[in-house]
Every structure is written in C-alpha cells, then in structure tokens.
C-alpha cells in the first residue's frame, strides 16, 4: 500500500514536472511558433499539397473512377490529350475568356475607383457597399442574370426591343459567340467591384499635397491622373491584375452554372473540360492530365512571374 501511494504520488509529481517543463519550453519562440503554425501547415499539405501530388500521380496512371490497382502508363495520357483538337480548342477558349474578362474588369474597375475617390455625399457608404455584388453567392448572381437574359420572358430582351436595338428576341445561349460574351459580361459584372475597391485603397494612400501642388501648377485633371495617380497605383493594379489572371484561368462555377460549357462546347474552357472528363465521364486520369497541363501551361508561369515581381515585398 505504502509503496503504491508513494509511486502514484511520484507519478503525479512527475507529471507536474513534465507539464511545467512543457510550458516553459513553450515560452520560447521556436517551439511555440511550431505548435501554433503546425495545424495550418498540416491543413495546407493535406488539402493542397497531397492532392497536387496525387494529380501528377493520376496523370501517369490509367484511373477510370476510384478502382484499386491502376496500371502505370507513363506519359501516354499526355500524348493522347495533346493530340486532341478538343484540348487545344478549350485552351483557346480559356485564353479568350480570361483576356475578355481582364480587359473589362481592369479599366472599368480603375474608372469606378476614380469616381469613388472623388468627394461626394454618402461617399463612405458607397465605397464599402460597392463590394457587395462580389460577396453574393456566384449561384445567385448567375441565376439572376440567366433570368434577365431569358429569351422568352427576360427583361433585357424586352428592353432591347423597346429601344429598337433588335427586332427578334435574342437567344444569348444559343450561339457560341453570344454565349461566351454573356458569360464574360456577367463575370466582369461580378469582379469589377473587387478591382475598384482594391484600386481605391491604393489611391487613398496617395498624399493630398501631391494633388494640391499639381493643381497650383495648373495641371488638368486628366494630366493629374496620368502623371500622379496612375504611376502610384500601378503596382497595386498590376498585382491585382496578376492575381485575377491566375483565378480567371481556373474559374469554373460561373461558366458551368450559366452554360454548362455549351452550346456545343462553345464555352468549355479547361476547367469545364476537367469537370466533364472527371466527374461526368469518370475518366479521372484524363481529367488529372488536363489539370496538370493547366497548371504547367497557365498557372506556373504566371505564379512565377508574380512571385518574382511582387513576392519580395509580400514576404518581408
């Protein structure tokens, strides 16, 4: 009995000593930061790191759905995909989609930021709430627009007929060109506020004395924008435009929810192709191969340029 009590006492004092050692160990920067960042690191590796590795693995094997024992096929999948005109057509559409969006979002976003940077009544409220369309679920945005663009009862067709723009109702999603145009316009509608808000934040860091000095010298508003505002917001605009390009290449929900890649693959960008091959046709290895190609052809070059250009300032 006595020995037992003694040993349990010893045990609890051992535990206490261990706990206090652990706590004092956690007072140091290294161990504490390890403990606090470990969960984030595990999450990043589990949800992004490992799956990216798996995409490469799948692209070198022949997996149909989720069966075991998949044969290794080397670069066969790549040879197959790169010989398909479907893939190159989809890559072309991805470039059109990204470029079309970018050319709308960046200039209009800057223009909106210029207007919001002026003095007007209700300025603070408008500045904040202008981000709201971007916070809406994509599904809601897309469904709103699909109803507005509806060929039978859509209000846009009614308005276009009223002002005499068209005689017959337009079926926006019936031809490849108008479908692509509609998808780009709706997505640009969603993303322009994001661009505007970020640009506006950059504009507000410009000191007012610069503007005053320019006005005293008699500079026009146009000259002030191009000589003072634009050079100073250019880093932020370039930064955001780069991020946007990377996201645009890979945007899937707006296109899928609007057209499902149709009509006749007319809006089937690479992300749509990945989804269709993988989760509709269950050709997992094909989908994985297209994913790797998207990564290598579009994402890696742009991310590298981005990191080289902006990385140093971001990581310091």
């Amino acid at each position: 009995m006595a020995t037992l009590e003694c040993s349990s006492q010893k045990k609890s004092s051992d535990l206490k000593a261990l706990a206090s050692r652990l706590l004092s160990w956690l007072e140091r920067d290294g161990p504490l930061s390890f403990l606090l960042t470990l969960p984030s690191v595990v999450w990043m590796l589990g949800i992004i790191g490992y799956p990216v590795g798996l995409v490469f693995w799948l692209s070198l094997h022949n997996q149909r759905s989720i069966e075991k024992n998949v044969p290794f096929v080397g670069l066969d999948n790549y040879a197959k995909i790169l010989h398909k005109s479907e893939f190159w057509e989809s890559a072309r559409l991805t470039v059109i989609w990204s470029l079309g969006n970018l050319l709308l979002i960046v200039p209009i976003g800057i223009a909106i930021a210029v207007v919001l940077n002026l003095q007007f009544y209700g300025q603070r409220t408008v500045r904040t709430w202008s981000l709201l369309p971007w916070m809406f679920p994509i599904v809601v945005n897309v469904l709103m627009w699909r109803w507005i663009l509806d060929p039978v009862a859509g209000v846009l067709n009614y308005l276009m007929r009223q002002i005499g723009l068209v005689d017959q109702p337009v079926s926006f999603f019936a031809s490849r060109e108008t479908a692509m145009l509609a998808v780009i316009l709706v997505n640009a509608w969603r993303w322009t506020p994001f661009m505007a808000v970020v640009t506006l934040a950059a504009m507000q860091t410009i000191s007012g004395t610069l503007y005053e000095a320019a006005r005293v010298d008699g500079a026009s508003s146009w000259a002030i924008f191009w000589r003072i505002t634009f050079p100073l917001i250019r880093p932020a605009v370039a930064n955001t435009a780069f991020i946007l390009v990377i996201w645009l290449f890979n945007m899937f929900p707006p296109i899928w929810l609007m057209t499902q890649g149709g009509p006749g693959d007319g809006t089937a960008t690479l992300p749509v192709l990945i989804y269709k091959q993988g989760l509709h046709l269950f050709r997992m290895s094909n989908a994985a191969t297209i994913s790797v190609l998207l990564l290598v052809m579009f994402i890696v070059p742009f991310t590298t340029i981005y990191l080289v250009t902006f990385g140093r300032r971001k990581l310091s």
Partner: protein, 276 residues
Amino acid sequence: MRPSLGQRLLIYAILLMLVLVYISPIYWTLITSFKKLPEMMASTPTFFPEDATLQHYRDVLYESRYTTFMRNSIVVGVAATVLTLLLSVGAAYSLSRLRFRGKTLFSLGILLVYLFPGILLIIPLFRVMANLGLYDNIISVVLVHVILALPFGIWTLRSFFDGVPVELEDAARIDGASRLRVLAQIFTPLIAPGIATVAIFSFVVSWNDYLFPAILLSSPSNQTVPVGIAGWTSAYSINWGQISAASILTVVPVIFFFGLVGRYFVQGLAAGAVKE
C-alpha cells in the same frame, strides 16, 4: 479645391449609372420573387409587382428542400469558421510576434494557398474523400472550406496583432502570465474586431461556395444552399419565382453580415492585394 456645380452633377450622374447597373439585377430578382406566374411571364414586363404574392416564399420554405439545404450550409459554415479561427489566430500570432525558422517559407505557403485554384483539386479531392469514406459527408466540405478563408484570416489577424502595443504584452508577461495565456486573455479581446471580421468572412465564403459541395456531396439531403438551388434549374420548366425567392433568402444573411463588418473586408482585401 471644391469641384464646380457642373463637375459635381457629372459625378452624381456617373454614380447613379453605376448604382443602376449594380442594383437593377438585384431589384429585378426581388420583384420577380413577389410576382405571380402570369405577370412574371407577361410579354410586357412590369417594373413593380401589380399583384404581389408571398406564394414563392411559402413554396421555398414549406414545399421544397430549402430548409434542409440551409441547415447543412449553416452546419458546414459554422464548423469551417471555428476551425479557420483556431488556425489563423495561432498562425497570425506567430507571424506577428515570434521569430522562427521557416517563417518566409510559411508566408510563401499562405500566398500560394491564396493563389491556388480550387478546380485543380476537384479530381484528387474526390478520390481522397472517397478513400477516407467521407464522400457525401459534409465533413469533407468543412475540411476543404477551412482552406478557402485561411489566407485572408491569417493576413487580417496579423495586421490586427501588429496593432497591439508590445508594452501591453510585456506588462502581462512580467506579472508571470505564460505566453499562451497572454494570447488567450490579453490579445484575443483586443483583436475582437479582427476575429469577428475573419469569422464572418469565413462563414460567407463557405455559405457561397458552389464548387466543393457540388463535387463532394451527392444526396440531396446533404446538399448546401448554392448547389441545391442550382439543381432547380435542371427541371424541365424552370420556376423563376421560386428561384428568385430562394436567391433573396440566400443573400439576406450575406447583406446583414456585410453591414456589420463590410468595411473591414475592404481593408483586408486591400491589404492582401496592395501592401506588405
């Protein structure tokens, strides 16, 4: 220098046009949700419902699976938010206050996660979750949603931590409090607005996401709101009244939360894309 009257009129005219471009689709959805079917499909549309009805809202709330979708969305959103907060508080504190090896690498990792496109994950994640037995289980969506708001969370909280004076921390440490206690009891109340911002951002991102629930969940009873509503458009004849009512119900919480902390979202997004 004050702009002249003409310039001011021009500014207001442009602003009015912008507001119209952004408000009118939302307004159109709102009035559609109150219109009866014949009025909705009329060849000459009405710009204010002549014979308003709540029928579509009743249908959505009592005759459809909307409330099930909503329950799933709330469960996923809350779970993802709690986990995002736990992860980002620790990571942001480390980045703001501690010196450790691999700090630059960790920052680079966060930036890459921010840039990384979700579409590249759908094929492998589908397989991983199937192998783990989590396919068609909302846990799988929670695990992925944590990653979506994590970079914003870490960047936002880091700037809030940076704003807390070092003297406050030192005073508490001299009194003998351990670092973890200082983090929990001194810092957390001081950065409460930051925590609220990250919590709401994380919830809204999860609430809005279409991609991951669409690929990781299959049965309708497990579905979240965005995928659920999107499914209604595959019906033979689309009921736009019901879809509009459901859309309005779905954006109401977003608008409410945005009203609370929207200005911090703007700051946080600007910080992510502009400075540092």
